[in-house]
Symmetry: C2
Subunit: 389 residues, 2 copies
Amino acid sequence: PQQVHHPFLSSFLLSFGGLSRCKESLDFPEYDGKDRVHDLNAKNYKSVMKKYDVMVVYYHDHPGSSRVAQRQFEIEELTLELAAQVLDEFDDEDIGVGVIDAKLDKVVAKKLGLEESDSIFIFTDDEVIEYDGELAADTIVEFIYDVLDDPVEFIDNSRELKGFENIEEDIKLVGYFKSHKSEHFEAFADAAEEFHPHIKFFATFSPKVAKALEMKLNEVDFYEPFIDDPVVIPGKPYSEDELVKFIEDNDRPTLRKLQPHNMYEIWDDDSEGEHIIAFAEESDPDGFEFLEILKEVAEDNTDNPDLSIVWIDPDDFPLLLPHWEKIFGIDLSFPQIGVVDTGDADSVWMDMGDGDDMPSVDELEDWIEDALSVDDENDDDTDDDDDDY
Amino acid sequence: PQQVHHPFLSSFLLSFGGLSRCKESLDFPEYDGKDRVHDLNAKNYKSVMKKYDVMVVYYHDHPGSSRVAQRQFEIEELTLELAAQVLDEFDDEDIGVGVIDAKLDKVVAKKLGLEESDSIFIFTDDEVIEYDGELAADTIVEFIYDVLDDPVEFIDNSRELKGFENIEEDIKLVGYFKSHKSEHFEAFADAAEEFHPHIKFFATFSPKVAKALEMKLNEVDFYEPFIDDPVVIPGKPYSEDELVKFIEDNDRPTLRKLQPHNMYEIWDDDSEGEHIIAFAEESDPDGFEFLEILKEVAEDNTDNPDLSIVWIDPDDFPLLLPHWEKIFGIDLSFPQIGVVDTGDADSVWMDMGDGDDMPSVDELEDWIEDALSVDDENDDDTDDDDDDY
């Protein structure tokens, strides 16, 4: 089979990613230099993809001819090689990794149904799942594990129910059904496959758990991130299509968290080229307090389709923190909220004083309302130093 | 000033770590090829260290002469270069990065008071703080931010109190004092500096917050990870030394979480060459359930000084998951608990069936007791396939 060859890299970076500490149990894997990433083209793609249960395909723009662009792409390939090596060791499924060049092999991408380049697609038995997160080996590999997990998790007892309630950063649904064999459960499981693993689906067959959740038989509840009370999806029992439609109509939460595995997906889902961005460090008392206020704002405004605040915990992106402080002109040692132009990174920020006093829910709502209406009136009226209008 | 030079690497990996997505706000920093990491030796170390507010020093073993070892070390340097570049952009403090070779410059390490090589030390105004976590740029940089944070955080209101209660993975202390000027607060703050940032210190001056915590004036409460009820440190008001002694006597929790920033520190703190390791994925219902059971076991056995269970969430170490499944011979798609020899990775694991039914608290306690007593009787009696004695 044709493969990507980069002898210079593979001989040089034989030990990429590994830092031996003489503790076998904790040794991070080192890239062994073996080429595992397939260069997919019209001749080989069918036979290569047939060999694997799951195929991870990076559909990338053709690398530019500059040395920097070339190196950039070599690093990306190396990241994929490390991911491929780790996935190769994984026993449960045969997982392959390949790349498609958007200039040279557009026709292959087309045959596979891929439209947007510069993304990673995961081909399983019956689904194609897009990954639009950081191109880092650990984040990609973790996402693949999630893909391989069952689309529906079961809540059998009160401890597992507590675990369900503990998940607040993602959209989640829970359904209460008679049993695995229920046709309504089947519709629910089919809908789950459409959104897996981006949206989390749970089911219970336990009347006790259902009682604690105040659910009736065949009911499905939809939870926005960070909002305690669910919406009961109307019209039970539901067909797969009804569930899919409801979720598609409600998949832009009022408050959502930017995470390495979804960062570009969320960034692309802006509103007229802008995002409301809130920085808050959850592990810090001020940050936690601000986040609680944000959650109350989200709860109050959950019916406003225009409002989708992106929460960034700086702890999740330490390498970007100084960059953000510089381009946004803000101090991230305390919480911040602002409106950011997703293109040129122009931004306006709420005046947070010296960070000692957090705004009230009302003050925050007023600021957001002003920020959104100023945007409507005058799209050019956003500049860096006007932060207290 | 003398610096580490690696022209081959710096020209090759000009764009290390960066994956441009044409979205300026989310562009990860790319290594710019500039040498920032100082090679500290007897001649330069004083003048170099004087230049910075904070100095990060990697005291490393002399790299072996094999090509693999050389490359290994070059990757480590590159990781430090990327960290140095990000820290260089950070406005609040001047932060330098240096390396000391344990063979060539042992005398420098000695003058700086460094005994153990293969660790990173952070020199601030008045403390030397050891970092014994993963040698990855993001994890190191995040740790430096924590070092730069104040050693004592304040709880001013009920939302911040909720944030305090939300922290359960670290040892934390909280003190209730009259004001900043209280001599008892000063003793507390001085003790905090000794353990910062490994142990989290909180203080409140609010009678309301103190009432919610059921605390008397000048009282300090000590919280083990994952245990809701604190221990009131006896003998208030305390001197700095009394606080330090109590913490040192109690810094080996019954249940603790392995994290990238503390992984080698925890691994080294074994009991007779062994660790009890529990794998549980918190975001999964089964994993959450098992973790709840583990917390109850920890609560029941908090007074047993021999017991310190290391919890690993596989989500935190995706690249190590297949490696662990292989060397331990276990399936990490459901929770596992076992005893691992920290040297040769020999291990015995509890029989978890097919992962559908979690053991009860009593069953888990019995298993742990057996595992610990078998160890006492016969240290060689641990092999891989004997998992239900």
